[in-house]
Amino acid sequence: MRDTLRQSMALFHTWSGLLLGWLLFAMFATGTAAYFQDEITRWMQPEVAGDANPALAAQGAVRFLNTVAPDGQSWYITLPNSRSATTQVYWQPSASKPAPRGETSAVLDRDGNRITTRETRGGFFLYRFHFDLHYMPVLWARYLVGIAAMFMLVAIISGVITHKKIFADFFMLRFGKGQRSWLDAHNVTAVLALPFHLMITFTGLVTLASMYMPWGIAANYAAPTAFYEAVFGRAVAAEPTGKRVPLADLGPLVSAASNRWNGQRVGYISIANPNDAAARIDMTRSPEASFGARGETASFDGATGRLIGAHDANGAALATESVMIGLHTGRFAKWGLRWLYFLSGLGGTIMVGSGLVLWTVKRRARLPDPSRPHLGFRMVERLNIAAIAGLATGIAVYFLANRLLPLDMASRAEREIDSLFLAWLGIGLWGMIRPARRAWTETLAIAGACFAAVPVINALTTSRGLLPSLLAGDWTFVAFDLVMLVLAAGFAMAAVRSAKVRTKANAGQGSRTRRAAQKVTSA
């Protein structure tokens, strides 16, 4: 009985892990990068330097919005946090004067001037790809990602149950032992960061909970809007009166809201009916100021600047949810904990990647003729190459494109993203046409070379290369270039290892492999 249970769990773990592993690998890799999304954005906007002040940034944003959309229906301002230097604004133009598509948002520097030199979506793209993917409807992507996360949760639990000796093998990582090494790598990365994996998977589901499991809200509320009003306290905006009254100065209001929250920063401002007598300003506390991702809000009359309401979602369940989302996104983390998040995420990425490789390594030995595997096996092998080496190369190329594409290119930000996927596709195709083992070595080497090229190209195309940054004490840029070099070294090592495995396998092919395979099967 216990054997059947373990066996069916193992089956489930193997096959769901394989089917969703490719997606999970991409989610883990981009999610890990997203812990440094603000730093990545800074690196991708080398023309922007210095830190921003929230009150000044808010005033600058209003100055900008007053020139582009003085009579817009609403304005949205995301203020810079302590790690970023830019302000994001988005506006809804007035109903009478619709703006051309795509011209309703802008990135501003700390003085409220539009940044036009190097259009990029920066680290924000990697963050959004983590759950919105790309080239597909966001809704579909989020359901796909949710299914993968749910399987991950079940896979973690079933993995713990299946792997009897999980704690006896706690420190076991043996290199150069073929299948055993891959199993070790999979187990060690899984077990060492097990608390992180459980937390990140569960809280990941929670971030989009109302989409995956809307029935808890539907049971108590006929319309979901009533629920959101109760939680966020956003009243429906009043109709504009048509009487023009200039908007109150945001600087003092930002300070006032911040004082209400014990000095915690304002993160987000939305303004309904700006420059109208019925204007209303809603401010939300910055997510980096506390564990809870769902910030308190304060509302002001936009014409007079008078505080008209403050909202603080309370209750145990709402607070728990808010903290869970905060734990997932890690916005509150200072640099020390941020690196721990990054390392744990890297562990998760390796766990999924080694699990994918393990699937093929385990089966290769059992194949009737290991030198000529069947179609399904070959497909998995190729998809693994595309998923692992392809995505890595793509991300490196995304950074390279940021430095190499012409600065005045039309829809430059989109072209950067296209470069990522073109490189990914290229590696995928390379993996298809080359013999699989050789393709591994080659694509891993390409990924390593691309990462190594990033600091070089950065030094050649900007004045903020590794050496000048080091001399200036610009640790964001120093760390970025160093991480690129570490990744390059990692992929180079992986390429060398895979080449060694190849020569060993070639030398021992034939009867010896077959005999070894039989031994594994009968064991």
Binding site: F170, F171, L173, G336, L340, L343
Partner: protein, 97 residues
């Protein structure tokens, strides 16, 4: 600074726990420990881990301290795995010579 101290404690904790395990003793210490020594290593491992938690909580508060502790425990365990590998390789190298 507090991260360095707590990380060192976590690393020491997992090294002790590894030393307490039969399969890693020979690699790390060059000999097999008596049951008593192994028990002492295991106890000190858990105590060190608790100490790391205490340091984190004292410095960062109970919520932040616990979160950071989990992360540092993972890194400490990872360092231990690296250390064991290093010890094994060194021994293998010496054996070959």
């Amino acid at each position: 600074m507090i991260h360095v101290l707590a990380l060192a404690l976590s690393f020491a904790a997992f090294l002790s726990l590894a030393v307490a395990m039969k399969r890693h003793q020979r690699d790390l210490t060059g000999r097999t420990l008596t049951d008593e020594q192994a028990r002492a290593a295991r106890t000190s491992g858990w105590l060190l881990l608790a100490g790391a938690l205490g340091v984190n909580i004292a410095a960062l508060g109970s919520a932040m301290g616990t979160i950071v502790w989990f992360g540092e425990a993972s890194v400490g365990a990872g360092l231990t795995v690296t250390a064991i590998n290093w010890a094994v390789n060194r021994k293998a190298g010496r054996g070959a010579r």
